[in-house]
Amino acid sequence: MTVGGSGNQTKVNTRLPHLLMGVGILYFLVPLLWVVIAATKSQPDLLDSPALWFAEFNLFENIGQLFREDDGVYGKWLLNTALYSGLSALGATALAAAAGYGLARFQFMGKRLFETALLGMIMVPATALVLPTYLILAEVELVDTMWAVILPSLLSPFGAYLVRVYVDESVPVELIDAARIDRAGELRIFWQIVVPMMRPAIVTVFLFTLVATWNNYFLPLVMLSDSELYPLTVGLTTWFNLAQQEAGTRMLFNLVVTGSLLAIVPLVVAFVLLQRFWRSGASAGALK
């Protein structure tokens, strides 16, 4: 957009913004470049070669070593992470979609109260719930199982709120009424008419709960003690702690770095591929 001024003036005006954006790109990119470069280095090179330039190329050796260490536990962590975040995001999205639709298009007892409470639920800080949830799950002996990570991640009051707002805006009541006249069941109306119409909201909720679970550290840290069940975040930190204690003599820093890179890649790729969703999807206007 060019607001005001002649074309000439606009050209001068964008020089500063471009300079600032260049600085920004450097700031956001350099740490990521460092991980990529460092992951190609052997343990000795990691310590001795210039941090932001390549040394001997050992990426594939590092990856091989990464998946062999501790009987291939890294591969398990990767699978666990994918499983936890996939199931949590699917579940949370399904629950939020149904609840959002129910709140937006139906009248029932306690609805008003629940809607008011929903806004409050959004404001309850998630980590304040982690320790109490641990104590509850310890009572029912679910601690140190995968369910201890997945079940609490199903809670997404914001997702429900978002879907409610979206349905309110973009799913016409007339359409639902028409389907009822045609004798479609409520579930069928939801699945065949409403869900396709609210796809953008569903994708947004899914994407963001996926990232939240993939990146979560506090919840699995508290819930899990069996290292076979760890997600990447907890697993990598235990490796890093080992490396620190042994000063890199046995457990190697190059594995921590290569493991970090592989933990980032899937999400960055997903975001680049799905950018049209988050680009049009992110707006704070939802929470009025």
């Binding site: 005001g4 460092w34 941090a51 139906f106 404001m123 309850v124 809670l155 975040t233 707006s283 009025k288």
Partner: protein
């Protein structure tokens, strides 16, 4: 920092901006169809999860926090003793003060940069701007753990490129983990991770502002900078305050970065942040009663601040 709540909305171009939405949804909500059983059934599964993982844990934490355990007497009811202890506990108060100070400096800097970036993106639509938008958002996809590890390596003298920079011109190496720089180093990690995310949210809000709003200003001869500051910024005030409140919620729960950085910087104590303190009370000292009180008090504090903020905001929004 942990942030569980995305501030996102359905596609901006498909939903009208915040103002008219309010009145329209009011009008529509009267037209809901009355199928009480079906409606309740749609909400029921979500409701059960809310009960199991929000209401019950909070209730249990509160109940636990009302008793104490000691070797001599076992578990006994102690009323609000744990809360009295918490709010006179110098370790907790130190952590609380540290987090508040941290937020007072870091949040305005981060949101300021994010707002500036969003305004630039709104005005410049070159390929370069597109790349900037994508790259700035990337840190959001990096787990906080990995971000903290990465920066820990970057800060360190053995691995990183930055600590020894001053020695090139004969200065002393920088100790990013020293007492005086530690909060700054942590602030930089958080800023790196969340600026792009906030920028995208503010940028999307700007996209939702009707273009006609700028035309009058252009006719009056306003410069692009004047339009940005006097028209665009006020138009997305709502989005800015929401980004601010979610950042405050995140900052109050500060845990991952200090927990990871403690490996690089041993002076990060068990009570460095309130959340770290609650965690250590439970898992290092096995005092679940006191830990529950800390969790509950912290959660309640954040909840009250956040809810009041949104409430006041809504009020103000409704009046205009």
């Amino acid at each position: 920092m942990t942030r569980s709540l995305p501030i996102t909305a359905p596609a901006a171009e498909e939903s009208p901006p915040a103002g008219p939405v309010e009145s329209r949804s009011r009008r529509r909500s009267r037209r809901v169809t009355a199928h009480p059983v079906a409606g309740a059934l749609f909400v029921l599964p979500f409701f059960l999860v809310v009960v199991a993982f929000l209401i019950v844990p909070l209730g249990y934490a509160f109940w636990l926090s009302l008793s104490s355990k000691s070797l001599a007497t076992g578990v006994r009811f102690s009323g609000f003793d744990n809360y009295v202890r918490a709010f006179t506990d110098p370790l907790l108060l130190d952590g609380l003060l540290r987090v508040v100070l941290f937020g007072l400096v870091q949040i305005p800097i981060m949101l300021g940069i994010a707002l500036a970036g969003a305004l630039v993106l709104d005005a410049v639509t070159t390929k370069f701007a597109l790349a900037f938008r994508l790259i700035a958002f990337m840190p959001y996809a990096v787990p906080a753990v990995v971000g903290a590890l990465m920066w820990g390596f970057l800060y360190s003298r053995t691995f990183g490129p930055f600590a020894d920079l001053p020695t090139l011109v004969g200065g002393d190496p920088i100790d990013f983990f020293s007492v005086s720089l530690l909060l700054v180093s942590l602030g930089n990690i958080v800023t790196w991770a969340w600026t792009g995310y906030n920028m995208i949210i503010l940028y999307s809000a700007l996209q939702g502002v009707p273009r006609e709003m700028y035309e009058a200003a252009v006719i009056d001869g306003a410069t692009p900078v004047q339009i940005a500051l006097r028209v665009k910024v006020p138009a997305i005030k709502q989005a800015i305050s929401l980004a601010a409140i979610f950042t405050v919620i995140g900052t109050m729960q500060f845990f991952t970065e200090p927990a990871i950085m403690a490996r690089f910087a041993p002076q990060i104590s068990a009570g460095y942040t309130p959340n770290l303190y609650a965690y250590n009370q439970a898992f290092a000292y096995s005092d679940f009663h006191y830990s529950a009180a800390l969790s509950f008090a912290l959660g309640f504090l954040v909840f009250v601040v956040a809810y009041a903020f949104v409430f006041v905001n809504r009020r103000r929004g409704g009046r205009k």
